[in-house]
Subunit: 246 residues, 4 copies
């Protein structure tokens, strides 16, 4: 019965802790800390870098900014009521906001992924992702995307929404956008890349890392893993003088 | 007393959950998830890639397709009655089939290994395996196998069924087959490689990974580890200009 | 009511075990062993190398010398009363001193960091840190510092005390000092580097490792992670012929 | 009161299980499995390779051959009465011998280390160790030892029995022996290297790995870690064109 407005008022007073309290390990407020622990161990979210967000019905769960990712707890999670404004940040409709923390600076980028139908969005600072953005720039110029073909792991990446997965003989293409001084300013670049590559489930950010999304948590995570595998393989192939596209 | 046909009917109704329920950590339905967790941490089954199957008497236990390997549970395991058809897939004799999951696409390849007497078969997407298939192709051509000699770890690989282990001065040879668009279509290539190299316990798949089998779970796993060690060493040796065969 | 002198006497008799006994995982005597376990897993404190110290009010908690870092316990922690002498070592004011152990040889370096306002100081033998000190020396000479620019992870390092964090377009500079035969003799070099680079939160030691500090434990740890990420990336960039400064 | 002979008889009947049963985590029969789990995670004992032995008073505790190192249990440990024969193997004085297992093929090499006063001996197949043996052979010939100087981690290695630790300006030298077809045949090479380098606490085996020992378990393990760190650093230095000796 409570309107969104009422929820916002309630958040200010009760902070709606029940939104992040669940015994279900599959609950987004439990999944985000668990995922962040894994990502920390892979070296993807070193030094508070990176972030993760899950959409669950009309609720967007968002990791906080500037925390040690492997120590994150459910109580540190922000909850936004969907739909919500991307800009200005202060008008985003938080229905749960932990004291003394700020939501991830990636929030408008996560919201962009959700506008495109994602159920989960992951941002990493993977060194392999950073290195391929540098190699692509040097070898093929600033406008080129990352391309790799004829590697089995490509089959872990969708061909596009409702189009099934890429095949072994397909070429995977991931657009690369230039980094900006402030993370939120990446949003227009991300949107432009999504418009130019409407089938992509990921966008690389030069000298920064990658945004990967998926229809749900499992798909976002496994697609992120497959891409990172391909970036690492590509860097090693480059060292050995092996071309990325057959 | 129940015929195979009866078992199939039972599977449709009771699903034979007892086949994957055991307190014994050595039970195949417990071993497969445990192995997959280890393989995930080694980077062998990134992004739902790879798979594992165990033969236990007349039962073949098979990991499901498309799941996060480190989260797999005993209840996700398929059970085939042995012997069973390799083709067509829909005539395979499943006596336990988890709802909403599909058996690993590697199933006909696992069955090929079991036909040759294996007790366990492991499939990984190890990057070291992929890289050696690419290096062998460039350095020695598409028909060459992987060869390495005079490295102690070679002694972890059998010389052939009932022939003991390779010696330090022997040359280890692992055949390489070309990848195919669909995993099940690798079967004839795998069989051809097994016929040409009757003593091999592993077949590399170009740009894809490796299939390794063994007389039992411990042998398949430790042989897979020894091979991966040798592939990683071989890639590093190549970077340093050191030849693989003395 | 007890004077510092009284505390010292008490230490000799009761050893003040209560100073390192707490159920709070955030207590320095619990945090140091927990941090050291993580650092061991990152390869930063191999073979008893490296160390960590935390200032908590007027108490300095210090890891012991020569122990296996992943096995450290709260009861192994030394406690110094602040302020205390850096030299001579035997006049340092220990109010808790475990039997059969010696305090870290890094103690005067930790004390130097605390004099400059740090709340925590971490010393690692990270191989990436060692390699960048060697690469800088060869490429730019013995007086050059490590420089890297235009990499997102730079934003994890402060611009200086009370000056906020570095921006994406800034250049991160970390001074490098020469190693000495005895760890405590690094102190004057560390102080000179701090004077020359008053905004730095870290000093590299050639052929040895790095000292990183921060206003509190979380900042020291995440800054150490961000720097190590940048050193690893820099070594990989160098292998691939990519310049560190754009 | 029981003579060694009596113990041997008892072993045949009761198998002296009490020798490997203890609640003390520092007991050798508990330490060996714990160490092997760590070594497995470092990639030192892949595929049943490598091994560990501890001398505790007149008892030598030895890991079994051919088992998965991360799954080893206390009950798998062999116990030899010290002193015992090195050759022939069948006359070694086992006072506890697990059924269905064989003692490590490294046993005579472990015994050689104990004859020289060691309290613990570790054998790994570390790839970094293998690679430095190959690089030394190519760069300096088959008779050269591994040499590295002016790296802080060298201080983790003793200068010799009762001589303290190496200093930063010292050169660490580790002899390299040629591998043999059978592990036990390494014994004479190991003894010759120990005679030629009486101060060494480790011997590299070309194309195989390393034997490292120490006065006790902690020293053997931390020396093994320091050496592996130095081998890994040396390989990376070689890739970057940086000399090992200043």
């Amino acid at each position: 019965m409570a309107s969104t407005q009422d929820n916002a008022v309630a958040a200010a007073t009760t902070n709606n802790d029940y939104l992040v309290q669940s015994d279900d390990p599959e609950h987004p407020a439990n999944l985000i800390p668990e995922l962040c622990r894994k990502f920390y161990n892979w070296g993807w979210v070193t030094g508070t870098g990176g972030g993760t967000s899950i959409r669950h019905g009309d609720h967007i769960f968002i990791a906080p900014s500037g925390v040690q990712k492997e120590l994150m707890k459910s109580e540190n999670i922000f909850v936004l009521q969907w739909p919500t404004k991307k800009y200005p940040a202060e008008e985003r409709n938080y229905i749960r906001r932990p004291l003394k923390l700020n939501p991830s600076a990636c929030t408008p980028l996560f919201l962009t992924a959700f506008e495109h139908g994602a159920g989960c969005c992951i941002h990493t600072h993977s060194q392999w992702a950073v290195l391929v953005t540098l190699l692509v720039e040097r070898e093929k110029g600033p406008d080129a995307c990352f391309e790799i073909s004829t590697i089995e792991q490509i089959k872990g990446i969708p061909r596009g929404k409702g189009k099934g997965m890429l095949g072994y003989h397909d070429t995977l293409r991931i657009p690369i956008i230039e980094n900006t001084a402030f993370e939120e300013d990446l949003t227009s670049g991300l949107e432009a890349a999504m418009n130019k590559y409407p089938d992509t489930y990921a966008v690389l950010v030069r000298r920064h890392g990658i945004y990967v999304w998926g229809d749900n948590v499992a798909k976002a995570k496994t697609q992120c893993e497959s891409l990172d595998y391909l970036f690492q393989l590509a860097v090693e192939m480059h060292k050995l003088g092996l071309p990325w596209v057959k």
